[in-house]
Symmetry: C2
Subunit: 125 residues, 2 copies
Amino acid sequence: MAGFDTHLRAMVDRLGGALAATLMGVDGIPVETVETSDLAAYEGLDLSSLLVEYSSVLTQVQRTGDVFAAGPVEELTIRSERLTTLIRPVSSEYFVALALGPNANTGKGRFLLRVHGSALVSELS
Amino acid sequence: MAGFDTHLRAMVDRLGGALAATLMGVDGIPVETVETSDLAAYEGLDLSSLLVEYSSVLTQVQRTGDVFAAGPVEELTIRSERLTTLIRPVSSEYFVALALGPNANTGKGRFLLRVHGSALVSELS
């Protein structure tokens, strides 16, 4: 698991305002999670429960895309008032999620997710 | 309804690769939709059915954000291989969606959605 952790930590360390990065099964069970000290400042935010719910959102979006010919889902972004969550499927069974505070650079987050997401794929196989 | 149509058309006209813009109730019933000629080239894509499904995705994401203290949803982006869909709630009952082909500028789409979304709010009230 050391490899997963390294990639997740590299993402949050390179991005100011990052709260957490996680590798998760599409069933909502986390494989590895890295949280930052910023997350502790988020009063009342239950990020792990939120990500479990978002995993079912991802599944729904993927099924919908298949049925109506939009093609495979490459990225799902949920921007809320207190939190932006970037979700990227890395295989048919796993996805990587990156949770950002409102002041983080979302574009850089997407870039890091793409780069480290690809690296994670090769470690998963 | 002329006002809604004007804002939706302004979005798709100012953005190369835009496929459609729609003002829709959170129950999935469209109020007004503007489609471009590019959409006709998308073989097999059932955009209106896709948007109905996405409206239920938005509802699920909003409920989840309320429960786990992420705050109100400001934007939902679903990037699939053939299609990127930007969804922005404009009131508690309505959202605006902008569907883009893979080569469209998503950043400009988000900007247009924010500007015209705000304008639509004032016409809805």
